[in-house]
Symmetry: C2
Subunit: 334 residues, 2 copies
């Protein structure tokens, strides 16, 4: 099984992308196709030593930039590393597609070149968040800004299958993100979605509030892509802010500085737990093939973990599980 | 000037409410009317000593509970401490109304008994959030789950006036909470709101993302009440989670434990900065009078700060500033 990586996408591309791919190959022998400018990639590989037999290169002339309009870019830049990596999966030359480029463009490339699973109205971006109990899958976090209740139901089913097949959670509890616990709470969208989720073949917990996400009360939290994106970015922003405050507070006192040296190893463990690098990227659920988008600022570790997540998704049959579930017809959207 | 306090609302009512009121009186001579069960309140006051001349009591038989349906409760429980406190403002016996009861019921009581400022379609709950630069006003955080663009424009104007009049910020920068910075980004609501905000008499910065809230890029962040509520509760949940992780991480190592003792004073300062107790509650903007709702778990310090915030709002003419702005007709909603 080969994994196609958009080697030119991301803030630290191509260097950190190549390094992450190389580490995955070194550690587990995973075969990888790096898609990007051949001469640049060969240079990067040379710096890593000779033993790069598992790292194939497919040349791509163009790069899709972070600020390119996604839908336009994936149509016009047919020779971009992102589009060509997605095409490798469509053509059967690779089993999964990984990119740290723009989330919108990665979704657009996956949709256009890999297609949707039949029955899925809209693919969703899922994010794996650290919680008190372990992790929670939050979706959608960016692709679908205006959703209908039936879309949220499909997100719930896909999130539940991801939590089961990939995170190994038996009978995952699914919560609907809302402003209160009672079934009558919410805006039009959540009020109409609640009864549909109760009727779906899901372990539906009910409504959950923003503060419940990190408590790990449920395994899957469902919301529209606008809210999910705001929640994800607010969480990133707040975690950054708190870490800055802690280091500021500590720098202001000599006693605290001494204390900080002693607490540092403990805090490093914590920061590791919070880092997106640990969680293997965000799967694009509903795409007819394994596609994973990594944070734009991904370094080698994040790419390596995304490669492992992609491999697990292929090995555990995530796509056919989603496909089978929607071929039952029961969740189909008219 | 007297401030009416719902002494029976909140997780720690009436004890902490009475103490907060008493502290405000002790520290500044602020006259306060405590509304609630007279014999219980007299008992609480007795425990605080004799010097309670500024703390008047108005007896109220009933209490609105956290899980009462807001609109129903404020209509049925006419003798509740919350409703009677709001009525004291309407009757001119008090200049401001403070409650730590349910946000929904406090808003309903304020709407029913104090009314809206003419021209305002929907009052909003504003929250003052700590940021790198100081504070940012986020609104709406709970009252309005389905909004139209014109509502968001009114929130922006009210938030801007609050930031100017009460937080002392000259020409406050106003941002629209969105999933990207570009003007074309967003869901239907934000895409339609953007041009209206640009045309309004506001210092409109443009779109801001979740991660920008805590950077303090703008002074006012506008969003619908569903998103605002989710953002607020997610932030509370994440801050709790991080604090738990830090203390867990530290407990696991003896060296870190010693370090923690030394960093403790610095971390306490930090935790103070993050505490809602510091920020004087959430003003209900658009109500025709000063109304402030405090966090349900408010203790004396939070109540005292809310009393000060209420007094500033009266003294600085917040209501007439909003009223004048909307009487120009320019922001009126048809």
């Amino acid at each position: 099984m080969k994994i196609a990586i958009d080697a030119m996408g991301g803030d630290y591309a191509p260097r950190e992308i190549v390094r992450g791919a190389w580490q995955a190959y070194q550690d587990t022998g995973q075969q990888i196709i790096l898609v990007g400018n051949r001469s640049i990639l060969i240079n990067e590989l040379k710096m890593l030593g000779d033993n790069c037999a598992g790292l194939e290169i497919v040349h791509a002339d163009e790069v899709i930039a972070m600020d390119d309009a996604p839908a336009v870019a994936v149509r016009r830049k047919k020779n971009s590393s992102m589009v060509m990596a997605a095409e490798l999966v469509r053509n059967g030359q690779a089993s999964a597609f990984v990119s740290a480029g723009s989330t919108g463009a990665t979704m657009a490339a996956a949709l256009l070149h890999m297609g949707r699973i039949p029955g899925i109205a809209r693919p969703a971006v899922a994010s794996v968040m650290p919680t008190e109990g372990g992790v929670t899958v939050l979706l959608d976090v960016g692709a679908n800004v205006d959703c209908k209740p039936k879309h949220l139901v499909q997100f719930a089913i896909m999130g539940s299958l991801f939590a089961h097949k990939i995170l190994g959670i038996e009978n995952p509890r699914v919560g609907l993100l809302n402003v209160g616990e009672e079934s009558t709470k919410g805006n039009e969208l959540t009020q109409e979605t609640y009864p549909l989720l109760r009727e779906a073949s899901l372990n539906f917990y009910g409504n959950v509030e923003g503060r419940d996400i990190f408590k790990g009360i449920v395994d899957v939290v469902v919301c529209d892509g606008f809210i999910g994106n705001v929640v994800l970015k607010t969480s990133e922003g707040l975690a950054d802010f708190l870490m800055k405050l802690i280091s500021q507070a500590i720098r202001q006192s000599n006693l605290a500085k001494i204390g900080a040296v002693l607490t540092l190893p403990a805090l490093k463990k914590l920061s590791k737990k919070l880092s997106y690098s640990e969680y293997g990227g965000a799967p694009l659920l509903g795409i007819n093939g394994v596609a994973i988008v990594c944070h734009g600022s991904s370094k080698a570790l994040a790419i390596k973990n995304a490669v492992y997540r992609a491999r697990e998704s292929v090995e555990n049959g995530l796509i056919s599980a989603i496909s089978d579930s929607f071929n039952n017809n029961e969740h189909k959207v008219g």
